[in-house]
């Protein structure tokens, strides 16, 4: 037996051969990628990426949809957009949805999650019930609540009748209609956020609670110093969904107010639909779409930055 390694003399490596970049596995990888990726890439490029780019392109034109865009106007549509009050209303309404989601819906969802993450009798039924509105189509939620809010036949009608007040049409009040819609949004979505929090709570190691108890923390202190800090990533996620939801808010508004009265409940998307699509102002509408797109990008970047900073 030879003890020390000695170079084997059978055949020196043939350089040209061994330097070949791909071997069989790599080659098959390429074949697989070439077979498996095109459907997704094609679909995605055609219906997601291209339209985004086209929105940016169309937004530079004044175009009523006939033929191809030819009347180049540069940033004209954006200037017009920014000078509109409705645009500010729409932006503010989107912002309101986010604010309400964060400062009202999130605490409600978190609180209910803390109650329901414990095993209490009937807990599962409550979870399902609270989640139920999330499953309803937004259109349906809007319709149901339009009925609830109806000053003649709905809940509000009944209440005004009980207290002998004049009929009150909340969706016709430009000062209140948006708040009525916000209530519906909380009604529909808190259950979803609650589920997120329940999942987040269940991921927390039970031993931490025991340790905190042993360390002498009260129930409140456990919540304040253990539970809530550990739910931070869930809160971020909840905010992420709230922002994304706000930016595409459309279906609930349409059956309830169509964006009215006096455009007081327009969001970016209803504005895009009502003032871009319905009025056949494709360039203007595309400018709204592009602004929405930019908001998404900015949000994504800010969100990612914040996320990574905390992770470090």
């Amino acid at each position: 037996m030879t003890d020390t390694p000695t170079p084997n003399s059978i055949s020196p490596p043939r350089q040209g051969f061994s330097l070949r970049p791909a071997n069989a596995l790599n080659r098959e990888g390429w074949v697989t990628a070439a077979l498996f990726l095109p459907p997704a890439l094609l679909l995605f490029t055609l219906f997601v990426v291209l339209p985004m780019g086209e929105a940016a392109y169309f937004s530079l034109f004044k175009w009523n949809g006939f033929g191809t865009p030819e009347d180049y106007r540069g940033l004209y549509n954006y200037e017009r957009l920014i000078s509109r009050d409705i645009f500010k209303t729409a932006l503010w309404n989107n912002m309101l949805v986010i604010l309400v989601s964060v400062f009202i819906q999130l605490p409600i969802a978190c609180g209910l999650a803390i109650i329901l993450a414990d095993k209490i009798p009937g807990g599962n039924i409550f979870r399902l019930l609270f989640f139920l509105p999330y499953v309803l189509a937004e259109i349906v939620a809007g319709l149901i609540w339009r009925f609830v809010y109806d000053g003649d036949t709905g809940f509000i009608a009944k209440f005004t009748e009980w207290f002998d007040l004049p009929a009150f049409y909340i969706l016709a009040e430009q000062d209140y209609a948006m708040y009525a819609i916000l209530a519906v949004i909380v009604w529909k979505y808190f259950g979803f956020h609650m589920m997120l929090f329940i999942a987040g709570l269940q991921a927390i190691d039970r031993d931490l609670y025991r340790a905190a108890r042993v360390d002498g923390a009260s129930a409140w202190q456990v919540l304040r110093f253990v539970t809530l800090p550990l739910l931070k990533s869930t809160m971020k996620l909840s905010i992420f969904f709230a922002v994304l939801g706000s930016l595409q808010l459309f279906d609930i508004i349409m059956p309830m107010t169509l964006g009215g009265p006096s455009d007081s409940t327009q969001t970016m998307v209803t504005y895009l639909y009502n003032h871009g699509f319905i009025r056949a102002k494709l360039g203007f509408g595309s400018a709204i779409g592009t602004v929405l797109f930019i908001i998404c990008v900015v949000f994504a970047v800010v969100y990612q930055k914040g996320f990574f900073r905390d992770a470090e």
Binding site: V48, L50, A55, A137, F147, L282, A300
Partner: protein, 285 residues
């Protein structure tokens, strides 16, 4: 469900904290349920009954308001359209995204991260951003007012999330399984077919159900892309119906109830997958 309560103090019998918790839960339940119950009952009431007595049981049960809808053609046509659009959308989504997610999870090739990043961009953008150019695009492709015109964009916009969920899942498969299969004589394609797919049924179900629900409930795409009522899915149908009967709320509520019931039944049957999928989607952060 964990066995340990979050707050160990809870175990005391007849705890007031527990009582308060039930009071809160009861109150929230009422807020959730009241509109829904009223809606379902409202469908049985006459217009006058609904007006004077929105909360109580119907004084006379008008079954015909439900049966009229069920015996008419519109309801079934809307449901059939939704079913068709959603089913094909889910199929297309699953087909494209499993193939792509598998490639991303298991195959090494140059430029992979770039392509993944490219597809993930789609996660961020709501369909609504692009309705105008989508409309133009679908028109130029000659797909306006066709089922495919709705199906393809729907699938395209659900790709990002589906690929993400499935890639996470595929990557959790032990790497040795791939090695073993390669040694056993599989290529990537056979591995995909014989190992990955059979092992991924739960995630396929989850992704499929989520895509289905999204497509079933969607409103804005069909609204701009479909013209003839014959092809309307139910959310457009219900708006059409509502437009026709405006504030004949008793009829609208009956229609609403009938469109909601399938969704609730499916939800109860598949809630495990839905919740799992949403919270798994949550992992991406």
């Amino acid at each position: 469900m964990q066995s340990e309560p979050l707050d160990p103090g809870l175990r005391k019998p007849w705890n007031f904290v527990l009582l308060y918790k039930y009071l809160v839960l009861g109150f929230v339940t009422l807020l959730i349920i009241a509109p829904l119950i009223t809606t379902a009952l409202g469908g049985f009431k006459s217009a006058a009954d609904l007006r004077t007595n929105p909360f109580g049981l119907p004084t006379v049960w008008h079954w015909n308001q439900y049966t009229d809808i069920l015996l008419g053609i519109d309801y079934w046509r809307y449901m059939g359209n939704s079913m068709l659009i959603s089913a094909i959308s889910v199929f297309v989504t699953l087909l494209c995204s499993t193939l792509a997610a598998f490639t991303f999870a298991h195959v090494k090739f140059f430029g992979k991260e770039f392509i993944v990043g490219y597809l993930m961009v789609g996660l961020l953008f709501p369909v609504a951003t692009a309705i105008l150019p989508l409309f133009v695009k679908v028109r130029d492709m000659g797909l306006l007012n066709t089922y495919w015109g709705v199906i393809l964009p729907t699938s395209a916009f659900s790709l990002g999330m589906s690929i993400l969920l499935m890639r996470n899942m595929f990557e959790k498969l032990p790497r040795e399984l791939l090695s073993a299969a390669l040694v056993d004589g599989c290529g990537y394609i056979r591995f995909f077919w014989h190992i990955t797919l059979p092992l991924s049924r739960p995630i396929l179900a989850t992704v499929g159900i989520i895509a289905f629900v999204a497509s079933w409930n969607q409103y804005v795409l069909p609204l701009i892309l479909l013209n003839s009522e014959e092809r309307y899915p139910w959310p457009l149908g219900i708006m059409e119906y509502q437009g026709e009967f405006t504030t004949d709320w008793h009829l609208i509520l009956a229609f609403v109830t009938l469109t909601v019931i399938p969704a609730i039944v499916v939800f109860l049957a598949t809630q495990k997958y839905i919740v799992a999928g949403l919270t798994a989607g949550a992992v991406k952060g």
